[in-house]
Every structure is written in structure tokens, then in C-alpha cells.
């Protein structure tokens, strides 16, 4: 069966260090991190990646009040992606549009808020908000986007822990190839900084980063790394079949090359380098490539002491020494861990490399952990390279879900 070619035609994002792809990319090349201190309920000052996009650019005040942060981020990113795509939105058949948004979790924020709210009323549940259910249903972020955009096609979220951002794009690719939709708005979002539970959970797991300088707190591959910086954010893309994109003369960022999703089936939280390597190999194979054809590998590494080493073990197993044109980076030093948005945002940060032939570095590596040393690792300074034809993006999540997505330079 010949599969349709699927291309990326628009990008909308908000990250802790940028509210557009241009701003985000400029900060990745300039080494500008976006981590700050934030008061977290019950926990006091914590490190977090906070977005400062203008919610009222695409929402009414009432939509912001009634909806969720994840819904708001989804709307912002979707609207920005559509604007970037050049699509004449008024003329698009809304029943042929799908919205597929990856989330690590959803509902924690609103549930915590309501429990806090009723704690002020002696836990009398008659003060519990009637908005609780529409705010906490798992499809909320995609549903809010469908309401805002008037999309009447399928709109739902994909729960895949921190592999979810890639999953949004992968699922969209599948739905476009099946002919279920003609346009997909897809990627991932995170509102996780608004739930103390995520912070407290990582802290109890001894996996929450601490550092006196927020900008240095997220430090994958550095010997002194001590955990995750939790962040919010989102990146949504417009994906179309190539013939549709061509027919309207769309700008094309890249083509979906290959992907794979698998499961560790080995632990609730500990990664499994064997399964990660299998996932990466399967994605490369599906793309019709071999390891040395991959020019950028964007790692998932979250700056936990063990997780980084294990992903490096998987990368080493796949790419080894025989891949002189393969360069490896990580984006979390700038933006922390954007959870369900991580894969989608980190891919976006690398897409401009097709045009500028520069690989953004992994920052905050003052003392590289020898166990994380990899050939081709780009550290602290951007690196100009001869070719960027392929970007491989890893995103892994709890309960052992692994996703790898490959985007290729578009060649007609």
C-alpha cells in the first residue's frame, strides 16, 4: 500500500522562552533559558518554566475564565499554527479537520483548585464548581480548541505521559493517511506548573531539580544535574497530505519521515534503554533510512541522574561510532520539561535547522557526565553543519511509553 506523504505546513507554539517559532529558535541559538521561580501552592518557591503568551489574542476573557490553562494554550497554539499555515480558515471544511493533542495528564489542576476552594468552606461540596467536569474531562484541551475554532471534525487528546507531544503528530499522520481528515491540528500541550501534585510527586521521587540560578537548573548530561524542571507550554502543527499542501502552494517545513511507538513493559517510572533503542531503530527503518542518515537527534533526557544515562545508552547502541554526520542535542536546558508538550516543542526548535544548517546546543553542560558522552553531542555553542536532511525526535514517558518521530527535509 502506498502511503500518502504528510507534510508540516504551520507551527504555533508557546514555550517558557518564546511565543513564536522565530523567537523560540533565536533564544535556542543565543543560549537563553526561560526558567524562573514560581510560588507553588503548599510548596513555596519552586523552579518552573512559565509561558507569557497573550491569551486574549485569541480568546475572550470569559473563555479564559471558564476554560483551563491547557485549553488556552491549545487555542493559542492552534490559532498561531493556522495563521502560519496560510490556510484561508473561513474556506476550510471544518468537519474535515481533526485536532489531536498530546497530554501528559489533565484534570489535576482543576481538581486541586476545587479541593482548595472547598477547604475555605469547611469542605462543603455545595461550593464545588459546576465547571469541574467539563474542565477535567480528558479531551478538554482539544475540545476547547474545537469550540474556539468551530471545528466539527474529530477533536480529542492523546494521553501518553511525556511521549505525548510526538504522539499528537504521529496520530495525525495516521488519520490523514486513512483519509479520516484533510487537515490535522496536532502536537502537545502542558499546564503542569499549575498543579502542585506534579511538583510534590517528583520531589518525593527525588527527581525535582534545585539550583540557586533558575537559568542553570535544568542541565541534562551535566554531572551536577539533579532532576527535572517542570514547565508549561505547547506546540501545535498543521499537517496536510502533500497533494493538498501543493494545491494551495503552501510553505512546507518538512515531511513526516517515519515514526515508532512502543512500550517498555518493565517499570512504572524507570526507563528501559533496550526498548528505547528498539523504538529509535524501528522509526529509522520505517523511514527507509539507516542510522547514519540521521543528522539531528533531539534527545528526551530530562536531567535525572539515571534517565539521562539510560537514554545515552540507547542512543549509543543505535548510532555508535559510525555516524559522523549525526549530531545530538537536547532542549530541556532552556525550557525545562514541558511534559506533554515536550516532544512537539523540541521538534519545533530544531525544524529551522533545515534552513540555517545550525544545530542548537545543549546548554548548562559545564562538566559533561562521561556516562552521557556521545559522539556528535552539541554542547553549549551552536554548531554549523554541512547537512541537515533528517531530524529524529525522542520523547519517552512514564509507564514505559516511547515515541520516536523523524521529520525529513522536504524534497519534491
Amino acid at each position: 500500500m502506498k502511503l500518502s506523504r504528510i507534510v508540516i505546513t504551520g507551527v504555533g507554539l508557546t514555550a517558557p522562552n518564546g511565543n513564536s517559532l522565530a523567537q523560540f529558535r533565536a533564544n535556542l541559538l543565543a543560549g537563553v533559558a526561560g526558567i524562573q521561580r514560581r510560588e507553588i501552592r503548599y510548596m513555596g518557591s519552586q523552579l518552573a518554566g512559565v509561558c507569557d503568551y497573550d491569551a486574549l489574542k485569541h480568546q475572550k476573557k470569559k473563555e479564559v475564565r471558564v476554560g483551563t490553562r491547557a485549553g488556552s494554550i491549545s487555542i493559542y497554539c492552534a490559532r498561531e499554527a493556522l495563521a502560519d499555515s496560510g490556510l484561508k480558515w473561513e474556506a476550510v471544511a471544518k468537519d474535515r479537520v481533526g485536532i489531536y493533542i498530546g497530554c501528559t495528564e489533565h484534570g489535576n489542576v482543576e481538581t486541586e483548585n476545587e479541593i482548595y476552594n472547598i477547604s475555605k468552606f469547611n469542605y462543603d461540596t455545595k461550593f464545588w464548581s459546576h465547571y469541574h467536569n467539563p474542565r477535567t474531562v480528558a479531551n478538554n484541551p482539544a475540545g476547547e480548541a474545537s469550540l474556539n475554532l468551530g471545528v466539527t471534525g474529530p477533536a480529542y487528546t492523546i494521553g501518553a505521559a511525556c511521549a505525548a507531544g510526538n504522539m499528537g503528530l504521529i496520530h495525525a499522520t495516521q488519520m490523514l493517511r486513512l483519509g479520516e481528515v484533510d487537515l490535522a491540528i496536532c502536537g502537545g500541550v502542558s499546564e503542569s506548573i499549575h498543579t502542585f501534585g506534579i511538583f510534590a510527586g517528583f520531589k518525593s521521587q527525588n527527581a525535582l531539580a534545585t539550583h540557586e540560578d533558575p537559568r542553570k537548573a535544568s542541565r541534562p548530561f551535566d554531572k551536577a544535574r539533579n532532576g527535572i524542571v517542570i514547565s508549561e507550554g505547547g506546540a501545535l502543527y498543521t499537517l496536510e497530505r502533500l497533494e493538498d499542501a501543493h494545491a494551495r502552494g503552501a510553505k512546507i517545513y518538512g515531511e513526516i519521515g517515519g515514526y515508532h511507538v512502543n512500550s517498555d513493559a518493565s517499570d512504572y517510572v524507570l526507563p528501559n534503554p533496550t526498548r528505547q533503542a528498539e523504538c529509535v531503530r524501528a522509526a529509522i527503518s520505517r523511514a527507509g533510512l539507516v542510522a547514519r542518515d540521521i543528522h539531528i537527534v533531539n534527545t528526551h533526557a530530562t536531567a535525572t541522574p539515571l534517565g539521562d544515562i539510560q537514554e545515552c545508552e540507547a542512543i549509543r547502541a543505535v548510532f555508535g561510532e559510525g555516524c559522523p554526520d549525526t549530531f545530538i542535542n537536547n532542549t530541556k536546558g532552556y525550557i525545562g520539561h514541558c511534559m506533554g508538550a515536550a516532544g512537539a516543542l523540541e521538534l519545533a526548535g530544531n525544524l529551522p535547522s533545515f534552513d540555517d544548517l545550525v544545530v542548537h546546543p545543549t546548554i548548562n553542560v559545564d562538566d559533561l557526565d562521561p556516562l552521557c558522552a556521545l559522539p556528535g553531542l552539541v554542547l553549549n555553542q551552536p554548531r554549523a553543519v554541512a547537512r541537515v536532511d533528517t531530524i529524529l525526535n525522542n520523547s519517552f514517558g512514564m509507564l514505559g511509553i516511547n515515541s520516536t518521530l523523524i521529520v525529513k527535509r522536504f524534497v519534491p
Binding site: 475572550k60 476573557k61 470569559k62 475564565r65 471558564v66 468552606f121 455545595k126 461550593f127 464548581s129 459546576h130 465547571y131
Partner: protein, 87 residues
Amino acid sequence: MTKDECKQVVLDIIADIAPDEDLSNVKPEVRLRDQLQLDSMDFLDIVMELRKRHGIEVPEKEYQQLASLDSCAEYLTPKFDALAGKN
């Protein structure tokens, strides 16, 4: 509490739950839903905020008493007065 003060209490709540609306010319005798973008969830908000801010309960069978500012004032002013008397 005067009826005008009662209407202002309701308007203050509406200002928070419908922040995009212009409330400078709300006609007290006209149904709120006929002049403002308010849906059934918003009316539940008005009920909730009366409960939270003022300790006033509006039973479901009496929700229609909140239809306009005038009907709100007729219905709620005695409730406010009763609460004030209690205190």
C-alpha cells in the same frame, strides 16, 4: 438593603462571570439573557456566587426569579434583609 443596592450586588457578580460584557446599560426590566451573552452555566455561576459571597441560597425551582435585575431585586432583597436581621 435597597433594591438598587441589591441590583448592584447582582451586577458585580455578572461583571466577574461575564467580563466581556458592557454592563453600563443593562435594562432592569428586561431578561438578562435577552440583553447579555449568558448561558445556563452562567446562571449557575450567579447562584454559586450568591452562596459564596453572601450566604444566600437559591433553590433550583426558584431560579426563574433571577431572570431580570428587577426580579432579582424583588426576590433577593428580602433574603439579604433576613440575613442582616439574623446578624
